[in-house]
């Protein structure tokens, strides 16, 4: 019984302490001209879906509601943002050549169709990031059209 108490206290202390460790916030005031939404004519519902489901990890601006600031969630996000942005940054979309855009679009379609993106570990907390079947169809169709128009 005493041991349980001690462990509980240690865990609690650890939890409190890690809250003090600063994290690099992925935030920026301005949206560059190369942003996916600015250079493409994206219907507003698709815009919203991408912002909610993908922009946290694939842009220069992550939304930080309170649960994204709590450790260890913040760490988890920081790692994924770094990795996610190096794969795909929607803010820098127009800096890509048409070949690279087509490549990325294929990859985006694959990721959404297969349900690999948004990451399951992320949708665990961010329920609104989950794609319904209808939304999947809609976004995939939009991306296909965009690819064909390049």
């Amino acid at each position: 019984m005493k041991a349980v108490k001690i462990i509980a206290i240690v865990l609690l202390v650890a939890f409190v302490v890690i809250q003090f460790i600063p994290v690099d916030r992925n935030q920026s005031d301005s949206v560059p001209k190369t942003d996916f939404m600015l250079v493409n004519d994206v219907p507003s519902d698709i815009k919203d879906k991408l912002r909610v489901s993908c922009y946290d990890c694939h842009s220069n601006n992550t939304q930080y509601p309170w649960y994204n600031k709590v450790q260890p969630v913040a760490w988890f996000l920081e790692g994924h943002i770094k990795e996610g942005k190096s794969e795909l940054n929607f803010n820098e979309w127009d800096a890509l050549s048409n070949r690279r855009k087509a490549s990325k679009l294929r990859s985006i379609i694959k990721q959404i169709e297969s349900g690999e993106m948004p990451l399951a570990s992320y949708t665990l907390i961010h329920k609104d990031a989950i794609f319904s079947e209808e939304e999947t169809k809609q976004v995939v169709k939009y991306m296909e059209n965009l690819k064909d128009s390049l």
């Binding site: 206290i9 202390v13 409190v16 600063p22 050549s97 070949r99 490549s103 294929r106």
Partner: protein, 209 residues
């Protein structure tokens, strides 16, 4: 009493972590400015490592390594064909290795002898192809095959500019992912997208000389 100790403990630990964390912050900032360098170094080391590895092996493999290092498009194609063969053989681990080798030889491709417009196309092709080769070096076989499809398009576009020493065959299987092409040195069909599951799906679409 023990409550007081606990509070003191928490404050002390928080203080220590904060101090440590702020040190870490300063360091990461410094790292950021040199990020680019270290990345390049890492790439450089990588190719060196490949060469070092080959030292232990027999001469034939050494020669292949040397060939892949000399920056001509033929070296890139050879590495591409090796990768294709690994996929034909359903060999995920080998394909990973060969993906990394292809990424290295792509990075070394010498484009200086082409015209300005060709150079910019080639740069674009290489940038795209490197990314797919790198993904192949770290994915499961289904993903490797997805990336191989786009990589094959890149290689076809590269050959359209650089030409090829040997006759190549562009082959096409209508079943995989709405129809997918690849390049081969041989007329025989050995499908890299299906491997043993459907080895002979496909036909020769075009001969490239």
């Amino acid at each position: 009493m023990s409550k007081l100790k606990l509070v003191i403990g928490v404050v002390a630990i928080a203080f220590v972590t904060l101090t440590a964390a702020s040190c870490k912050d300063a360091k990461t900032e410094k790292n950021n400015s040199t990020d680019h360098h270290s990345e390049m170094n890492a790439n450089g080391d990588h190719s060196k490592m490949n060469h070092d590895n080959s030292d232990g092996h027999h001469d034939g493999e050494k020669k292949e390594m040397a060939m892949s290092g000399d920056g001509n498009p033929q070296a890139v194609l050879n590495d591409y064909f090796n990768l294709k063969d690994a996929l034909v053989g359903d060999d995920n681990a080998k394909a990973k290795e060969l993906g990394a080798i292809l990424a290295t030889s792509l990075g070394k491709l010498d484009i200086s002898k082409y015209t300005g417009a060709q150079q910019s196309d080639l740069r674009d092709i290489v940038e795209d192809a490197v990314e797919h080769a790198e993904h192949i070096s770290e994915s499961d076989i289904a993903h490797q095959r997805e990336h191989f499809k786009i990589l094959s398009k890149d290689m076809t576009d590269m050959v359209a500019i650089t030409g090829t020493e040997n006759t190549l065959y562009q082959q096409f299987c209508p079943m995989y992912d709405g129809g997918s092409a690849w390049l081969s040195m041989s007329e025989d069909i050995k499908n890299p997208y299906y491997g043993s599951k459907m080895l002979t799906c496909g036909k020769v679409q075009k001969e490239i000389n």
